[in-house]
């Protein structure tokens, strides 16, 4: 437990040190569709959205998670993503996003579910930072989540090349086991895809779990 707190503090400090950041768009460009997925031992999620206008995307989302000794709960819903504010700077970009779904929970908990979230991210061609808070609620269910990510690219690349990144994420989820998930990951980005391979809590034998995140824009 002490070790977990120590690592979380380290990740948080690291994220604070890395000021500007990279690649966490929650939607594509105008008139594009985006597919996002996260496949891990503790949570699984996928979302498909369409952006009819810059800054707005609608779609469908499904997420699955479970608490300590609980049966898994799956939330299926309609999702909306909105760009609240964007700063386009000469060498960086920063965004504030709203994202949320309304739908139905099934499994350990049943009923109307809602998942509003706020995300701030900042990125340059070399550095990346993201902070996100999300409510994940249904009757008697609370899987609220908070996460910070920070990373750096190994080198700059051209528009048609693949850029590798090292990213570390610290994430907490209420009633989830383990409650604190630290995921170091290798991220590969080019103009066609965004792929991230990580291992959650790699030092914790019991909690060790590979994780895959992917995004595609059409």
């Amino acid at each position: 437990m002490f070790k977990q707190q120590y690592v979380a503090l380290g990740a948080l400090l690291l994220s604070q040190l890395m000021m500007p950041a990279h690649a966490a768009a929650l939607m594509g460009f105008e008139d594009s569709a985006m597919l996002m997925t996260e496949i891990g031992r503790y949570n699984q999620e996928w979302m498909l959205n369409y952006s009819p206008a810059l800054g707005h995307a609608i779609g469908v989302e499904q997420m699955r998670m479970s608490g300590k000794g609980e049966q898994a709960t799956t939330i299926s819903g309609i999702n909306y993503t909105g760009l609240i504010k964007r700063w386009n700077l000469p060498l960086a970009q920063a965004n504030v996003w709203f994202n949320g779904s309304v739908g139905e929970a099934r499994g350990q908990y049943d009923g109307f579910a809602y998942t509003p979230s706020l995300q701030f991210d900042m990125e340059s061609t070399r550095l990346y930072f993201l902070a996100k808070a999300r409510m994940i609620r249904a009757p008697n269910m609370n899987y609220d989540t908070a996460a910070v990510q920070a990373g750096f690219s190994f080198y700059e690349t051209g528009f048609n090349q693949t850029q590798p990144w090292f990213v570390i994420e610290a994430k907490t989820m209420r009633h989830n086991d383990p409650g604190l998930q630290i995921t170091p990951a290798l991220r590969l980005i080019n103009k066609h895809y965004f792929l991230e391979f990580g291992v959650t809590n790699p030092w914790q034998g019991e909690g060790f779990a590979p994780r895959l995140n992917a995004m595609f824009v059409f």
Binding site: A25, R86, N88, Q93, E123, T157, G158, Q161, K191
Partner: protein, 113 residues
């Protein structure tokens, strides 16, 4: 003498009349290929497009127009803005995209030394 005059006039007019037109811009916020894909896709969809060049390091986006075709600076800027970015410096140059690409590569090479 008449012939000479005509030749001189033609040679003076030709470069201007058939000059390559490329719109070249510095784009703010363009830091990731995955996110900037929209710029390339939207510019490639323009019927007036000859070639498109996007470079993350220098933040340069260049659109070379087909001979005799025209895209206004406003229309070009709107494409960039619709993709989620803002235009810094914008200019029209009589250079091909290939020449701009070589120029950018040279500058990057010099900068990395």
């Amino acid at each position: 003498m008449k012939k000479l005059l005509v030749t001189l006039m033609l040679s003076a007019m030709t470069p201007a009349a058939f000059a390559v037109t490329t719109i070249k811009a510095e784009v703010n916020g363009m830091v990731c290929a995955f996110c900037a894909k929209g710029i390339e896709k939207k510019l490639n969809a323009l019927p007036q497009k000859q070639t498109v060049f996007v470079d993350l390091k220098s933040r340069v986006v260049a659109l070379q127009l087909k001979d005799g075709q025209e895209v206004s600076n406003e229309a070009f800027s709107k494409v960039i803005q619709d993709a989620g970015y803002s235009v810094g410096k914008l200019e029209r140059v009589n250079q091909t995209v290939e020449a701009i690409q070589a120029e950018v590569a040279k500058a990057e090479k010099a900068g990395s030394k």
